[in-house]
């Protein structure tokens, strides 16, 4: 298995303890390439990038490093095409979700993975079927890349009985026992202790090894400031648990920058308080993310060494669908657009001759169909029946469980 260390020139690295010194920038490989003409899917991609025009080939800050190009060249074409397909799936799904939210098909809060597609796909490529995943409320893409039917995901957003959580969870609370997606969680940091406990259960029942199970626990950058992060990482360290904590650092917790929120803004260093090694990786680079996650999962499953992976990327839109993100500087928005991993990978694949324009266009068209079918499925599905309001009250039924509707009497009294 390729690991960051084994490949010269990779930006990801594993550190046992952080190094003192200045704040390094997130490692970024820039790519620039003349972009192929936009297909509908990529037009949708670009529409996601607010109102400013898309970055052009003249954007001199982008440009693939030799190492990155080599890394891509080393991948089988069909793997890269599949990663691209998955990234486009997340992109298009999220755009349609935003649209459905505006059309009031989706309620509550709706947080999108737009801009984080390379991180999503890279992480899910590293996670094995036997591993368990705990995520945040920003988790549609993870569900899709975990292989869950997009229709069932969209149906959950629609609050339908056919949704992955039967309509009980909504956008923030996707769950699929079969896919070992053990939930999106809406309380910031709330998933970290249960994920740690899942790793404890693995350690309780089985020995470490290449084939052992492991847990991946996702969180945002802002989440590293909550107490549960500290308590959980410490437990994982002293108990030697098979878990990989991933900080999806999109630079913002709602409107607050990492720098404003965190005394140590290079978040991968925060494992040091527990002697947990940290890895920082370019979250816009699907291969780099995958490899860093793979190596971390290897440490977790084979050595019971928990690892903290930080994937640095950008949020293309507001915190949730309704947030216009007025607090963001034009420069920051422009930078996010420029680094957008979906068109970047697209043009790189074409430029490098990995896939041709026709193949890319076919992928995009197929994804559009898949998502359209998901929306149709969600739309046509029935809502949960009101008669089932108490269906999930308890796993073990006991006497006197209250099954009362709001206007019902508590106990009946006869004169």
């Amino acid at each position: 298995m390729a690991t960051p260390q084994e490949r010269p020139g990779r930006t990801a690295r594993v550190r046992a303890t952080p190094e003192p010194g200045a704040r390094p920038e997130a490692p970024k490989r820039r790519r620039s390439a003349p972009r192929a003409p936009a297909t509908p899917a990529v037009q949708a991609v670009q529409a996601a990038q607010a109102t400013t025009p898309p970055a052009t080939a003249a954007d001199t800050e982008t440009g693939p490093s030799a190492a990155a190009a080599a890394a891509l060249a080393a991948e089988p074409p069909q793997v890269l095409a599949d990663y691209y397909r998955q990234m486009v799936l997340v992109r298009v799904f999220e755009q349609r979700a935003a649209e459905m939210y505006t059309r009031a098909k989706i309620g509550g809060y709706c947080h999108l993975n737009l801009g984080e597609e390379a991180t999503v796909v890279g992480l899910m490529a590293a996670l094995e079927r036997r591993d368990y995943l705990f995520t945040t409320y920003r988790e549609h893409g993870y569900a899709l890349c975990r292989g869950i039917d997009p229709g069932r995901v969209m149906a959950e957003l629609f609050g339908k009985a056919t949704g992955v959580s039967g309509g009980w969870g909504g956008s923030m609370h996707l769950f699929d026992a079969g896919a070992r997606l053990l939930g999106g969680y809406g309380i910031v940091g709330g998933q970290i202790p249960p994920a740690t406990g899942a790793a404890l259960a693995i350690a309780y029942r089985s020995d470490p090894g290449e084939d052992a199970e492991a847990v991946m626990c996702l969180m945002g950058d802002g989440t590293t400031n909550i107490g549960a992060f500290h308590e959980s990482l410490n437990l994982a360290a002293i108990w030697s648990l098979p878990i990989v904590y991933v900080v999806v650092n999109n630079g913002l917790g709602m409107g607050t920058t990492v720098q404003a929120a965190s005394g140590e803004p290079e978040l991968s260093r925060r494992g040091a308080s527990y002697r947990i090694p940290g890895v920082r990786v370019d979250g816009d680079d699907v291969i780099a993310v995958r490899d860093a996650a793979r190596q971390a999962l290897h440490s977790a499953r084979a050595e019971r060494q928990p690892v903290l992976v930080e994937a640095v990327s950008s949020r293309l839109r507001g915190h949730s669908v309704v947030d216009p993100a007025r607090y963001r500087s034009a420069e920051d928005t422009e930078r996010a657009r420029r680094l957008d991993p979906v068109p970047t990978l697209r043009s790189h694949l074409i430029q490098a001759g990995v896939v041709d324009l026709a193949a890319v266009t076919a992928i995009e068209a197929e994804v559009e169909d898949v998502v359209a079918a998901a929306v149709a499925f969600a739309d046509e599905s029935p809502p949960p029946a009101v008669a089932d309001l108490f269906a999930h009250a308890y796993a073990t039924p006991v006497p006197n469980t209250p099954h009362r509707l709001p206007a019902d009497a508590v106990v009946v009294s006869e004169p």
């Binding site: 309620g107 509550g108 802002g222 709001p406 508590v410």
Partner: protein, 330 residues
């Protein structure tokens, strides 16, 4: 009097108190640059600067506790907790610290802080973001808990809370932020610990607070068409609880219904019903009934969510059933 929204009343009150008293400052997640999750603090960062409008990391236990310490040194922090659901992350600082410090240290310190936080379901936010757990705070000696239902009370109670030397929890409600009402101009203080009879009536008393008090008032007005005279008691203050006002009303009307947004068992309404049966026992003609949420984690799906939450129609039904039980005919 000016007609403004509940949101505006809260905003204006924060601003007025900050102008009045240099020791008042705001603290919370996303209250500055983001202008507040529900925009209550919009514009205040620009006006007062980051010293007095302080954005915090996602560290509820940390920043609520920091407010406790700042208050012990005489500042008057007004904390925004994004929703009451997240208060569970900070509850040790609220219950084991803010509420205890004055008494546990023999009266040597006080904790003049305010926590503003909205509760409320019905927005399809799912099980962890839709709770009404004000009973957690109402149960605790050392805390004061208010829950305004109108823009005027939002102003009056928030003003009183900021000027009070004890820790006060101000329970707001997502569904009320856009509601409008007349608000007294100038200084307006509503005494903590007092309920209000928001509509007089003779046949039955409805007791409620926050969003449910607005529903109760609406239902009471509508039932006048049916010649049913409902009196509405809006608790306003959950701790201390104004038991006399509640019982006096029921002694007069002889019937009572409670409506509340929280779960029935061990909810706020339990204390109200228990209080009424004790304080108006010899006047009561029918059991005190409670209209409250169904006892399930609130589902996301609209169909289920709406079925679980109390509505005006539920209150009307229970009022009718209560009147019927006593043979009342309008």
């Amino acid at each position: 009097m000016t007609e403004i929204s509940y949101r505006q009343a809260l905003h204006d009150t924060l601003r007025a108190e900050m102008l009045r008293d240099e020791s008042v400052f705001l603290l919370g997640e996303e209250i500055g640059i983001f202008e507040g999750s529900y925009k209550i603090t919009a514009g205040l960062l620009q006006e007062f600067g980051p010293r007095r409008v302080r954005d915090t990391p996602i560290s509820e236990e940390g920043f609520v506790g920091a407010a406790v310490g700042a208050a012990m040194l005489g500042l008057r922090p007004v904390v925004e907790l994004m929703t009451i659901n997240f208060s569970l992350l900070a509850i040790d600082q609220i219950v084991n610290h803010a509420a205890k410090i004055h008494a546990m240290f023999g009266g040597q310190a006080s904790v003049p802080m305010v926590i503003r936080t909205p509760g409320g379901g019905g927005q399809q936010l799912g099980a962890t973001h839709s709770q009404n757990i004000e009973v957690y705070y109402a149960h605790i000696p050392g805390l004061k808990v208010v829950a305004p239902s109108t823009p005027a009370d939002a102003k009056g109670l928030l003003t009183a809370s900021i000027r009070d030397d004890d820790p006060v929890l101000v329970v707001e409600n997502l569904a009320l932020y856009n509601t409008k009402g007349d608000v007294p101009d100038g200084d307006h203080v509503t005494e903590i610990g007092t309920a209000a009879v928001t509509k007089e009536g003779t046949d039955l008393t409805v007791v409620a607070y926050s969003r449910a008090a607005a529903i109760a008032l609406d239902v009471a007005r509508r039932l006048e068409d049916e010649h049913i005279s409902v009196e509405v008691v809006d608790l306003r203050s959950l701790r201390p609880l104004d038991r006399e006002t509640i019982c006096a009303s029921v002694r007069k009307t002889t019937r009572a219904v409670v409506i509340e947004d929280d779960w029935l068992s061990y909810g706020i309404g339990a204390e109200i019903a228990a209080t009424i049966q004790e304080g108006a026992f010899y006047h009561l003609d029918a059991p005190v009934r409670r209209v409250a949420a169904a006892e399930v984690p609130l589902p996301y799906a609209k169909s289920l969510e709406q079925a679980a939450l109390p509505h005006a129609g539920d209150l009307v039904t229970v009022i009718h059933e209560t009147l019927d039980a006593t043979g009342f005919t309008p």
